[in-house]
């Protein structure tokens, strides 16, 4: 709805908010009202409750020179948000980008491994070429050290060194980069020098990938076959984390939290309150511990099995509580507060980001069906193909991974398309996934129907 962006884009924020009608609230009739109300009462006000009760606090943060950057962050346009002058806003945008590319690196790892294993099984001669190495590099790029080393264990020493070099911890704080073990002769496999550039980036010798490597295009390898760059997503995540650290003046989020007001750290983010953000920073959060705020809802556990129905039940209880909480907020809020709540879809946005976080953890814990169930719930179908306040870039990246890992690799390409549109360096990952899709369906009988 364009009015949402207009709300933040024009002057006279509160006047514009009061001029707009409200979107209808969710019907919230999926579970007994009494239980939902009790759960909602257990929720603290959080930052959403805070800005709904006092919209001027919201205006104080977003109005100003960085208004467009706040609009961008709200809408998931991380490119524009990283242009913010405000350090906290800029850092948050870079951190979200880093998370996106980390998520894509995991998808890349799965894609390359599956492609290599399936393709070499069909054509063993491919095992002599660069494909096994590229798969191992993709696994290392996702930080999956044990799996990368297992794959590399059968390689000759130069290739093992190449994989190992990617797993070397990044040098920080101006320390001298470690010398490459044995010269990393394997890095010269790529005629464009992009593999070597990736190593230079990870070891701190360079700040950014040079052109054309920064585009994530196909590598220049011996032979006629074309392979994409398996290291681009990790590189982009690395660059984004570096930029976030620079935006925070080299400090940490925890340090900055103690310095100023919390709202800029929370606005449009995935954390209900400052306590939840602090808990996340302390590494306390796992699938079974949703953070102190949502923990009060006593949501059902999903168990160790990858049961999507259990995931749905947990999400429905969350929805019932959030719907009841939002209804309560709406009843007591001013007109401006209600407009903030509904036009900016603050609860829907936080709900989606909670489900995305659950999904990420489920994928890392090898529960892709549960992840898929949550991501389908999180996904805003009304504007399904675009990045937006609810459909953030990571949602699409994780949806692609969940679909791919549940046999729906063709549908994973659908999910990846909006990310490719916004981040062209992801085109190579789509090409590689496309190769896998075609390989998996080779020899099958296609079916088509009218209508």
């Amino acid at each position: 709805m364009p009015a949402r962006r207009a709300i933040l884009a024009g002057g006279g924020l509160l006047a514009l908010l009061s001029a707009c009608g409200s979107d209808p609230a969710p019907s919230g009739d999926g579970s007994p009202a009494g239980v939902a109300d009790a759960a909602a009462a257990a929720l603290p006000a959080g930052w959403i409750g805070g800005v709904v009760a006092a919209p001027d606090r919201f205006a104080a943060v977003v109005e100003g020179a960085d208004r467009e950057a706040w609009v961008a962050l709200h809408g998931g346009d991380l490119h524009a948000a990283t242009e913010a002058a405000d350090a906290v806003l800029r850092a948050r945008a870079w951190e979200e980008r880093a998370q996106l590319h980390t998520d894509l690196a995991h998808l890349s790892s799965w894609t390359w491994q599956t492609l290599a294993d399936d393709w070499i099984a069909q054509d063993p001669a491919l095992g002599e070429g660069p494909l096994p190495l590229l798969a191992a590099l993709a696994v290392a790029d996702a930080g999956q050290a044990d799996a990368a080393r297992r794959r590399a264990s059968a390689f000759p020493p130069p290739r093992q060194q190449l994989v190992e070099a990617l797993l070397v911890p990044v040098v920080r704080d101006g320390g001298a980069p470690p010398p490459p073990p044995g010269g990393v002769a394997g890095a010269t496999i790529d005629g464009k020098g992009c593999i070597a550039a990736h190593l230079d980036l990870r070891s701190g010798r360079i700040d950014r990938l040079p052109a054309p490597c920064d585009a994530g295009a196909a590598l220049s390898l011996p032979g006629e076959r074309s392979f994409q760059d398996p290291l681009i997503q990790g590189a982009l995540a690395f660059q984004a984390r570096t930029a976030a650290r620079a935006a925070r003046g080299g400090g940490t989020v925890t340090e900055q939290l103690s310095e100023g007001a919390p709202l800029p750290h929370l606005l449009f983010g995935p954390w209900w309150s400052i306590d939840d953000l602090r808990a996340a920073l302390a590494g306390d959060l796992s699938l079974s511990a949703p953070g102190p705020s949502l923990a009060a809802l006593d949501l059902p556990e999903v168990g160790a099995q990858d049961d999507p129905q259990a995931a749905l039940e947990r999400a429905r209880d969350l929805d019932a509580a959030l719907d009841a909480w939002a209804a309560g907020q709406r009843d007591s809020a001013s007109e401006e507060g209600r407009a903030l709540l509904d036009h900016l879809r603050l609860v829907e946005q936080l709900r989606a980001r909670t489900l995305v976080r659950w999904s990420r953890q489920a994928l890392r814990q090898d529960r892709p069906r549960q992840a898929l169930a949550w991501l389908q719930l999180a996904h805003d179908a009304d504007d399904s193909r675009a990045v937006g306040p609810v459909n953030r870039p990571s949602l699409f990246a994780l949806l692609a991974e969940a679909r791919a890992r549940t046999g729906r690799s063709r549908e994973a390409l659908d999910a990846l398309a909006p990310v490719v549109a916004a981040y062209p360096q992801t085109r190579g990952l789509a090409e590689t996934l496309g190769d896998l899709v075609v390989l998996q369906n080779m020899g099958r009988q296609g079916d088509s129907k009218e209508l």
Binding site: D29, Q376, G407, L416, M442, G443, Q445, S448
Partner: protein, 524 residues
């Protein structure tokens, strides 16, 4: 499409709690099945825009027919929930060393819905019927690779192939038919089986109700009885009412949700949305057998006068396409630019083809250039598209008339007799996105008569490729050539969702056939 008067959004759970005028509105539309027996309380009631015209896998040509068939019939193999090939009516198979023969052991203890045992004879019969020219099966292409089929014994079938096959099981998904219900392998479309199907699937077709709905009941003797006792298919041609029926719990599922209803349904916590994309795209196809469309310049001129974005905007969200794949497809050629609306270039092409424009109308040798568009009634939003298309083309001097055909007339006029000028329709593809039957000169779905030796060669190359990158390259080249040849004006792909009430549990939707795993669904 005409908008219906909006019904008030109500958090109600049964029709009895609706206001009297609202109940009357629904009942007057004949949508509450007043003449139908009440469905079982835990029946799955779902809506189709157009009811299946035939329930015979030999002639399945629409998605609604394929979906219903998925409940009633089974193949030798099917997809498991991870979309891997898994035995269904087969139990196991052994491929010969030279990969030209497959010996299939059939599952024992399977019976048809009429109690007759399923045997190898049924498999042999089905393949024979599909290949028999007298059947003219729409599915003939699915067995073209099988040279012969023989019943070795009651539970063993030997299949012989024209050339070595790496994974023939992947191609044995077609539905098996009961030999004892037919007189021979030349099966007519009008055979009574079409409305009295007998399958081995988890549901059997119980009856056609007076209101046109189809009632299926659980087949109790199935080896894995379904979780739901009953499924009812209801034709609800008025899309405006489909979403309301779902919200008011008169239905449990909508197979395709109108884009404008997505936001409303997404907000209802009693409803889940499931992506159901089916890799589908809309098109205008010319009849290349005669008339002005034999000249590629005339076809290209039409492509330069049609504005797909403007036609798409009122009916939903999606992406314009430039060829026979959706943009997310690995075969989509992103280097192919859209024709774009360019009346001056279109005029140049038409003049080159011998047309002249006088008094606003294009004509040649005294004959005005007109387009008669034929569209199936079951194509949602087609009326809206055609009205806007008429406007676009008539502004450019092209006269446009329109026919909307029911299912039977469409089959006859377009598929069999090929008596059409231009058709507006939609193709849906499974994850293989195999367009061979649509564009090969011998393709069984190439009713436009398109023929190109280069495209035939690319299709053969794609079919025979063992390298995925080679197959990708061949089909991307095909995209470019078919775009340029313009046997069709490729229009768009739409976002597509299905919707289901949350009381339906353990739902996993097959990305193409929808109901493949419906036997595992349960009702809360």
């Amino acid at each position: 499409m005409r908008a219906s008067p909006p019904l008030p959004p109500l958090p109600v759970h049964s029709m009895t709690r609706l206001s009297a005028p609202t109940r009357l509105l629904l009942l007057a539309g004949g949508l509450a099945g007043a003449a139908a027996p009440a469905a079982a309380e835990d029946a799955l009631r779902y809506a189709e825009d157009q009811a299946p015209g035939i329930v015979n896998p030999l002639f399945t040509s629409t998605m609604s027919e394929a979906r219903l068939g998925e409940l009633v019939f089974e193949g030798l193999y099917t997809d498991d929930r991870d979309l891997r090939t898994t035995p269904d009516l087969a139990e196991s198979a052994r491929l010969s060393a030279d990969r030209t023969e497959l010996t299939v052991k059939l599952r024992r203890g399977v019976s048809w819905h009429d109690g007759t045992p399923f045997t190898a004879r049924d498999v042999v019969f089905t393949i024979g019927a599909m290949k028999d020219g007298g059947t003219a099966s729409t599915e003939a292409g699915r067995v073209a690779w099988i040279e012969g089929a023989e019943a070795v014994d009651d539970h063993t079938v030997l299949l012989r192939f024209g050339r070595p096959e790496a994974s023939p099981e992947d191609k044995l998904f077609f539905k098996i038919l009961p030999a004892h219900r037919f007189e021979g392998t030349a099966v007519r479309r009008t055979d009574p089986f079409r409305n009295k199907p007998v399958g081995t699937g988890p549901f059997q077709l119980e009856r056609y109700n007076d209101d046109g709905s189809i009632r299926l009941t659980r087949y109790a003797q199935h080896r894995d009885p379904a979780g739901m006792p009953e499924v009812v298919m209801r034709e609800v041609s008025d899309k405006n009412y489909q979403a309301k029926l779902l919200m008011y719990e008169s239905l449990e599922a909508l197979v395709r949700v109108l884009p404008r209803d997505l936001a409303m349904l997404d907000k209802d916590r009693g409803i889940e949305l499931y992506p159901y994309q089916t890799n589908s795209w809309w098109y205008l196809s010319f009849n290349l057998r005669g008339g002005p469309w034999t000249d590629p310049r005339v076809r290209q001129a039409m492509a330069l006068l049609v504005d797909p974005e403007a036609l798409l905007a009122p009916i939903g969200t999606g992406d314009a396409v430039t060829g026979p794949f959706v943009p997310s497809s690995p075969f989509y050629n992103h280097q192919v630019d859209a024709w774009g609306v360019n009346p001056s270039e279109a005029a140049r092409l038409l003049e080159e083809a011998g047309y002249a424009r006088a008094e606003g109308t294009w004509s040649r040798a005294g004959q005005p250039l007109t387009m008669r568009i034929t569209a199936p009634k079951g194509l949602e939003s087609a009326q809206e598209v055609v009205i806007n298309l008429q406007s676009q083309l008539q502004r450019q001097g092209i006269g446009v008339d329109v026919d909307f055909l029911d299912e039977a007339s469409w089959r006859r006029t377009v598929w069999r007799e090929k008596q059409f000028d231009v058709v507006l329709s939609q193709w849906s593809f499974d994850r293989n996105e195999d367009v061979r039957e649509q564009f090969h000169s011998q393709g069984s779905r190439n009713f436009s008569g398109y023929s190109s030796t280069e495209v035939d060669a690319l299709l053969d190359q794609a079919r025979d490729a063992v390298d995925p990158q080679e197959k990708k390259a061949a089909l991307r080249e095909l995209h470019a050539r078919v775009h340029e040849d313009a046997p069709m004006v490729f229009l768009w792909t739409l976002d597509s969702y299905s919707a289901m009430r949350t009381k339906v549990r353990d739902v996993v939707v097959h990305p193409f056939y929808f109901f493949t795993w419906a036997d595992d669904w349960t009702m809360e």
